[in-house]
């Protein structure tokens, strides 16, 4: 009974309606919570995981990976002999992590406390206080202590770069400091720095690496940026939510590809010859606007050297070191009326000026050097022959021009054959040659020699010349063009065309990069000499060489002569757009004349006249190509030819090597010396040669006298070099002989009017008896010479 009662109370009572309600409502709930609410979840997940997958994958990859770059080494730039001209080395950025340093300081204090507690010795290195760190780093890195302290005060910072691109010496010292004092939080981050071991050498050709933008600026550094820079590598590592790398998780390494190396056609030695001759001329002739000097292999178009003035140190491209430019800057700085901005502007201008490669960016009037091309064209077309005669009265008239056109020799060259006309650089003669060619033909040759197109050289910023259009090329223009005036070409165009004249008629495409090699040494790109076209025939070219040799051998270019070498060339002087007092004096030279190995174009822009309107400089130099550029070109060519090992052609006075005759009998010594084109004088009366001056191996002019000591003591004293500047060859020779020295003459030595203008060893210098002293001669008497 009790059970029943209890049961009734606890137990529910049958209720069909209630059961039905529950059934229906449960089914409703099942519809809602068993199905309906989950449908949006499937859609939502589909949206996030499938539709927006790419977006999230990218976001997550950004978040979860640490992407560090691995810098590629920039390729090296070599000269043609393998001398590095530009290379990269590892340097370090010094970085502080103040947060970690503070941690390090805390740890030190803890160690001290622990040591005190446990009665042990405290650490045996000093406490890494901010002051201690700052003082030491400042000393090592040559920084201000306060600056470093200020950086260290940024407690939460992890990266404070205190010095960029620190070299090995300093970075080693920092490393030692870190290790010795157990400091954590000072980092040396490797990076690279570009070095130019040769400083300013070939600055405009090489160009420089601008670390601020990470790219090459100017020259091949810029032009071959892609090849040199290589490909930056990446290390992608996983990191966790607080930025710690998880190396075990995954690591993707994309190798850095080191940059390719360039081998230039530039020869560092020839380049330095060119640069020093350029510099020498700029100083000697008071040159105001610098100059350029290009040396090229006429047979291949390889640029052997390419010098510009003003120039600069590639290791400090912003610094202005050129004397002319610095003087200008100094004048702006000291000008009280000039503002700060004016100075900044002047500095920028001078920087741009020193960076630019004049010989390709700028054009100039080629002047008489252009006559080489006119000559070649005329010979090729057969309108002139070597036997033709030209009469120069000092001026000539051209149809269509109201004034006579004057020759540089106002008195006139009178009658002259073709070679003489070229040697005289006679304008009326060339006007006539031009007329014979006719405007059409002449213009064809302008085109064929490449003056209307780019040479295609692998160098930045090549300009085209400024030349009349074919339609505008009338008779008057033809006349002025015949002697190289009233139109502009780039120096590189001129030397390329001139090469075609002398190399057998081949217009070559000039180039400066001969080879691109990858980091493993595989040749990626090799430049073969490319002929653009054949302009004149082999025979014509040969005839031109012969005629142009006469320019140096007795013509306007005689100052370029070098004993023992056959040099051909053409002088040039041309007015610039800057007007009065601004003349570009130039010399186009090649050697050996019969088989040219090198062609040079040397030009000085605007030697300063002694007074406005004067035709000489303050130094007394007559402003003309023949009296300035030719002299320098001679010295340059001699250096280059010596260096290239071009054999000297035998001549009576060519340098010979003194053989060893000591120990020989007089007769055999005599014959040995005679074989070497030397004479002798004896001192003493022994039978055997006991000593000789000069010693074996010395190089002295042929025909010189060797002193043989027959038993007598060889004098070992030194003698003073006499001053021979201003003397004629004979006088100088005599003076040298009197002093017990040999004269090694160069330049225009064959003319009675030549005088020595420079001696290699200054007067008063003590030298060994029998030394050969080089003296340079010039012939500056002929008026108007060298136009």
């Amino acid at each position: 009974m009790a059970y029943r009662k209890k049961n009734r109370e606890i137990r529910q009572q049958p209720d069909r309606r209630a059961n039905r309600t529950i059934l229906i409502r449960t089914l409703i709930l099942m519809g809602i919570f068993g199905l309906a609410v989950f449908v949006p979840l499937f859609f939502r997940l589909w949206q996030i995981q499938i539709e927006e997958y790419d977006k999230y994958r990218e976001l997550v990859a950004d978040q979860q990976t640490k992407d560090s770059t691995v810098e590629a080494n920039r390729g090296t730039i070599y000269d043609s002999t393998g001398t590095p001209l530009a290379l990269s080395a590892t340097v370090y950025n010094v970085q502080l992590s103040p947060k970690e340093i503070i941690q390090c300081q805390k740890e030190y204090q803890e160690k001290v406390e622990n040591a005190l507690k446990n009665d042990k010795d405290p650490p045996d290195y000093p406490e890494p206080t901010a002051q201690f760190i700052a003082e030491n780093l400042a000393e090592i890195l040559d920084l201000e202590v306060d600056d470093i302290l200020a950086r260290l005060a940024k407690e939460n910072s992890l990266y404070e770069m205190i010095k960029w691109r620190v070299e090995a010496e300093e970075s080693d010292a920092v490393q030692a400091f870190i290790t010795e004092n157990h400091i954590s939080g000072i980092y040396l981050m490797p990076t690279s720095k570009r070095y130019y071991p040769k400083g300013s050498l070939a600055a405009q050709v090489i160009g420089w690496f601008n670390p601020n933008v990470g790219e090459g600026a100017y020259g091949v550094e810029a032009l071959y940026e892609e090849e040199l820079s290589g490909e930056t590598g990446r290390v992608v590592t996983a990191k966790n939510g607080v930025g710690t790398e998880m190396l075990y998780w995954f690591e993707d390494y994309y190798d850095a590809t080191d940059g390719d190396s360039l081998t230039l056609t530039i020869d560092a030695t020839i380049q330095s010859f060119c640069e020093s001759i350029l510099k020498k001329g700029v100083e000697q002739f008071d040159v105001q606007d610098g100059g350029f000097c290009i040396a090229m292999d006429p047979n291949t178009g390889e640029i052997l050297a390419w010098a510009n003035s003003p120039t600069y140190d590639l290791n400090d491209p912003w610094g202005v070191t050129d004397p002319v430019l610095s003087a200008y800057l100094e004048s702006v700085k000291n000008d009280p009326s000039a503002s700060e901005e004016a100075y900044t502007q002047a500095l920028q201008d001078t920087q741009l000026q020193q960076w630019r490669n004049k010989a390709i960016n700028d054009t100039y009037e080629p002047g008489s050097t252009f006559k080489s091309m006119v000559l070649a064209a005329a010979l090729e077309e057969g309108v002139v022959t070597e036997s033709d005669h030209f009469y120069c009265s000092g001026s000539t008239r051209v149809e269509g021009w109201y004034r006579p056109i004057y020759c540089s020799e106002t008195k006139g060259h009178k009658d002259q054959d073709l070679a003489k006309a070229v040697a005289n650089s006679c304008n009326p003669a060339f006007i006539e040659i031009g007329q014979r060619l006719g405007a059409e033909k002449f213009y064809d040759y302008l085109e064929d020699f490449g003056f209307l197109e780019l040479t295609g050289i692998d160098m930045q910023g090549e300009s085209t010349g400024v030349i009349w259009s074919r339609d505008a090329f009338n008779n008057v223009n033809l006349a002025t063009a015949s002697f190289g005036q009233r139109f502009n070409v780039t120096p590189i165009q001129l030397i390329t065309a001139a090469s075609a004249v002398i190399n057998g008629g081949h217009l070559m495409q000039p180039y400066v990069v001969s080879q691109v090699t990858d980091a493993d040494g595989n040749v990626v790109q090799h430049t073969e000499p490319t002929q653009v076209r054949q302009v004149v025939s082999e025979q014509t070219s040969e005839r031109c060489r012969a005629i142009l040799e006469k320019v140096v051998d007795g013509g306007t270019g005689k100052n370029a002569a070098v004993e023992g070498y056959r040099i051909g060339g053409k002088t040039g002087s041309s007015e610039t757009l800057k007007g009065e007092g601004h003349t570009i004096v130039s010399f186009l030279g090649f050697a050996p004349a019969d088989d040219p190995q090198v062609v040079i174009l040397l030009a000085y822009d605007s030697p300063k006249p002694a007074s406005p309107g004067a035709d000489v400089t303050a130094g007394g130099w007559y402003i003309s190509g023949g009296n300035m550029a030719a002299i320098m070109a001679g010295e340059l060519l001699e250096n280059i030819l010596d260096y290239m090992g071009v054999e000297k052609t035998y001549s009576a006075t060519a340098d010979v090597l003194v053989p060893n005759v000591t120990g020989l009998s007089l007769s055999s010594a005599t014959s040995a010396l005679k074989k070497n084109n030397l004479t002798l004088r004896t001192v003493g009366d022994g039978d055997t040669v006991t000593g000789q001056i000069p010693a074996q191996g010395a190089s002295i002019p042929g025909g010189s006298e060797v002193v043989l000591y027959m038993g007598e003591e060889v004098p070992t004293d030194q003698v003073q070099v006499p001053n021979v500047v201003g003397l004629t060859l004979e006088q100088a020779q005599k003076k040298m002989e009197e002093a017990g020295l040999y004269l090694k003459a160069s330049g225009a030595t064959d003319y009675g009017t030549s005088t020595a203008y420079e001696q290699e060893t200054a007067s008063g210098t003590l030298v060994d008896r029998g030394t050969a002293i080089e003296v340079r001669f010039t012939d500056s008497t002929a008026s108007g010479a060298g136009l």
């Binding site: 209720d15 529950i22 059934l23 919570f33 199905l35 995981q49 927006e52 997958y53």
Partner: protein
């Protein structure tokens, strides 16, 4: 000495019926997957906390084992027993909800939230977990006897008889006890405070009330009231949740971080996922990857397919639950199962909605998956109750 079968009462025999195998299998499957996912999601956390990487996994596995044992034991109990047990369960729940507010009993937290009670050896548990099931049990027990409840009879002469009669007719008087219980619990939970727990208790209670046949307008009224309360409480902290929900990226530093990381995890999973154990977001990116946001890791590692399968398993479990409710032997069993099943469904839905930023963030864990030993044990105990009901299904229905 065990009694032989024929010696047992009919009810005892009924209680020994077979468990519903599909439901059991789904529970076991979800528990198994859940424990594995806890291992995968927690080992980075454990590692960075300086613990054994399997620390959380081992604890969770242990609790899962214990939970399954408890489930089995509970399933063996004749669920009719829960009728009278429910009173004590409710009393205990209210006591615990009061106790958790007393300093010294609840765990100390920086944010002053008093939701957890520490039990030595077991870790912590939330009294609200017990309240959830207690409310369902009590409401089911009481509502299953609706038809026999005696209406309050006032003297027809009493002044109040008219209004009482009206209140009785519209069903208000019947709801008073439930309302009072819910208000007490709501009040206590508000003191903790524990918004998400409150929502779940209300959801469970509402499901039972709904299924029991309470008139729909009460739900409309109750829903309106709850919405008004929600709007009122939507000041300050709660309102920024809405803003974060609308555009987590705009509030990266102010609460958007977790949901952004969750979306990153889900989104980067793609169709097939990164593979089990290969989540990257668990490496200190996604906060608490083993807890409320474990489903994001499931999505990241198992992809859309894996996540869909997990949801599908839940859906099957829930439908099976309702199926059991429909077939339960009596109304109490039906209401009990409806309550538990709906609670589970709401919890799963809310958790995944939050993880996918379909709804603003609330701290609701994912049943069977989220790390938490006591919660898992209580969850499995609830499943045990459902299984207990399922044992009596083969018997003829009592009218």
């Amino acid at each position: 000495m065990a009694k032989r079968k024929r010696d047992l009462t009919m009810e005892q025999q009924l209680a020994r019926g077979p468990m519903d195998l599909p439901f059991l299998m789904l529970v076991l499957l979800l528990t198994g997957i859940g424990v594995v996912m806890v291992f995968s999601a927690s080992y980075a956390t454990a590692y960075y906390e300086g613990r054994d990487p399997a620390f959380y996994f081992l604890r969770q596995a242990l609790f899962a084992g214990a939970g399954l044992a408890i489930m089995y034991v509970i399933s063996k109990i004749n669920y009719e027993t829960f009728r009278w047990l429910s009173v004590f369960a409710l009393g205990l729940a209210i006591l615990l909800l009061i106790a958790v507010l007393i300093p010294g009993i609840h765990t100390d937290r920086a944010d002053n939230v008093r939701r957890w009670i520490a039990v030595p050896g077991l870790g912590t548990f939330q009294p609200s977990e017990i309240a959830k099931v207690a409310v369902i049990m009590y409401f089911s027990a009481r509502l299953s006897k609706r038809n026999t409840e005696k209406p309050i009879r006032l003297s027809p002469r009493s002044n109040l008889s008219g209004i009482v009669g009206w209140l009785d007719r519209i069903g208000f008087l019947e709801l008073v006890p439930y309302g009072v219980i819910l208000l007490i619990i709501l009040f206590l939970m508000k003191l903790e405070p524990h918004m998400s727990g409150t929502i779940l208790i209300l959801a469970g209670a509402a499901a039972v009330l709904f299924a029991a046949g309470i008139k729909l307008y009460w739900f409309i009224l109750g829903g309106g009231g709850a919405a008004a309360l929600l709007l009122l409480s939507m000041q300050g902290y709660q309102s920024t949740r809405i803003l974060v929900w609308q555009d987590p990226w705009a509030y990266k530093q102010d609460g958007g971080y977790q949901i952004i990381q969750s979306l990153y995890a889900i989104g980067s999973g793609g169709l097939l996922g990164l593979g089990l154990g290969k989540s990257r977001q668990k490496f200190l990116y996604l906060p608490e990857p083993e807890n409320d946001f474990i489903f994001a890791i499931v999505c990241e590692e198992l992809g859309y397919l894996g996540a869909a399968i997990v949801i599908l398993l839940f859906v099957l479990l829930i439908i099976r639950g309702y199926w059991l409710a429909v077939h339960a032997r009596d109304r109490f069993g039906a209401l009990l199962v409806v309550g538990i099943t709906t609670l589970l469904a709401v919890q799963v839905f809310l958790n995944i909605s939050v993880v996918t930023n379909l709804l603003p963030t609330t701290g609701i864990s994912l049943p069977f998956f989220s790390y938490g030993g006591t919660a898992l044990m209580i969850q499995l105990a609830e499943m045990g109750m459902v299984l207990s009901v399922s044992r009596q299904i083969p018997a003829p229905r009592q009218e």
